[in-house]
Symmetry: C2
């Protein structure tokens, strides 16, 4: 199949390589030529614009930073719609607001094209190991066409609902993981300030209802003082900005997510944005005289 | 062994019965005679006061509602210390503040007696199935003496540290489970208000980093609209009061736990205190016009 892929960063690069290795013809465009280097040894062709990519592909994947980037690369000057034929499918795997995803989907539909919002969780490791969780919003028949390709990238691929539903599921994921990291950090800092070893607490709690993947994995990394990303704090901050923006639009109160979003704001403001989001523990320690 | 047990409520009754069935001589005192009914068929003797229980036992377990109840039954008029010989061990399995536990431990030590704080998690089901998680604070040699008895009540028994450390671990447990329930409720309400099926979201997220026992069990009960306790909202509210009180004393900020504590306050204030703590979902629905 002729596949376009735009957005060859930490996540996009290994994802595009999985598709090439599965025997598909890759068509690429990248702002920085260096991003194309890893594709010299696979069946891939570089183009001068996103619209040129769209001319040569039946489906284009995008994996960029935020909603304005998706809008630019899909709808902007030299963007996908300029080169695309009717029937083209755009599968956006970036994390953007559900409202932005629905808006782009509507604009593509007017032009006889289809859009899937298909954000992922699992981070760089998940992308490298083709073990991502992929949450998809869009029409069922379009989903069925792209599903075999998604399955080259992830181990869990779910059509959540109509347009935007994938982004809603991703927002829920970022609420649960963000609040989860904050709660484990709060509990560990509470234990330590009380003179109790957080490692013993974690061990005792692992077998009960307090068990979570976050307590197991992120909790262990907190104990190891390993703050390397993983998932960068500024990205989690961005995702919680999306969540809180949706809460505002929907007229919805999200108290624990709101408290967590404030911590991630402070984390980035304290210069720890490039560290893993578990650095929220260091923020709490700083605020309680435990540096 | 001669064992006293005081506090024969929903939790204490099955726990005391496990000890009787393990062949120990039970000595009981209860404010309400009806609480003694289930003990007619086991080897148990009722007494007229906690101090009388203490006269006949080598170790007394207490399982009551809150710190003042523990203080009363241990140190008050007609309490355990009035009847106890030196070397007596009191194992308190109630959930109380770590500071209160340390205070009682110190007062018993002055009298040549020992105290373990040994709060549990796992709820009534855990008590009935002898599957509790037991988090213990106190001296190691005292813990070793009582450990075989704890093992009749729970499947995970951990000495966390010195006096109060069991209560600190329990407080951490209540942070993680309380914030966990709030986060899942927020995510589900967010999905529904966005027009997305929370059941599909839960399914997609179960395999990733958002996985928690709370998402699995409590999440499913939210989807089933099964708000029967389980663990009553007013009890979780009480436990978070302890957590926030400790945070105040320690000079510690717990943002996500604080937001959750506020929700539990509102839950009890809305007349849902006797329901399961997952009723926080109903509170969020009410606040977003989704009743």
């Amino acid at each position: 199949m002729k596949i376009g892929f735009i957005g060859l960063g930490l996540m996009g690069r290994p994802m595009a390589l999985h598709l090439a290795r599965a025997g598909h013809d890759l068509h690429l465009w990248a702002r920085r030529p260096a991003s194309l280097e890893p594709f010299r040894e696979v069946n891939a062709r570089a183009h001068i614009s996103a619209s040129e990519v769209a001319k040569h592909a039946e489906i284009v994947f995008t994996m960029v930073a935020d909603a304005p980037d998706v809008a630019q690369v899909v709808l902007g000057e030299g963007g996908i719609v300029e080169g695309a034929a009717k029937g083209m499918i755009v599968a956006d795997m970036s994390t953007i607001a559900p409202t932005a995803a629905r808006d782009i989907a509507a604009k593509l539909k007017e032009r006889g094209m289809s859009f899937l919002d298909a954000p992922v969780s699992g981070g760089e490791t998940g992308a490298i190991n083709a073990a991502l969780t992929i949450m998809v919003g869009g029409e069922a028949d379009v989903f069925e066409k792209v599903k075999p390709l998604f399955e080259k990238l992830g181990k869990s691929v779910t059509l959540i609902g109509g347009s935007g539903a994938g982004q809603v599921a991703k927002a829920c994921n970022q609420i649960l993981t963000g609040v989860g990291v904050a709660a484990v950090a709060e509990a560990f800092n509470f234990a330590r300030k009380s003179g109790v070893d957080p490692a013993r607490v974690r061990e005792a709690l692992m077998g009960g209802f307090a068990y979570s993947k976050i307590l197991e994995n992120h909790g262990q990394r907190m104990l190891d003082r390993n703050f390397k990303p993983g998932f960068k704090a500024w990205m989690h901050q961005k995702d919680l900005r999306i969540v809180m923006g949706e809460a505002h639009s929907l007229g919805l109160m999200l108290p624990s997510a709101a408290a967590t979003a404030q911590m991630f704001n402070a984390l980035v403001g304290s210069g720890m944005g490039e560290e893993d989001s578990i650095s929220v523990l260091k923020l709490l320690e700083k605020m309680s005289g435990q540096e």
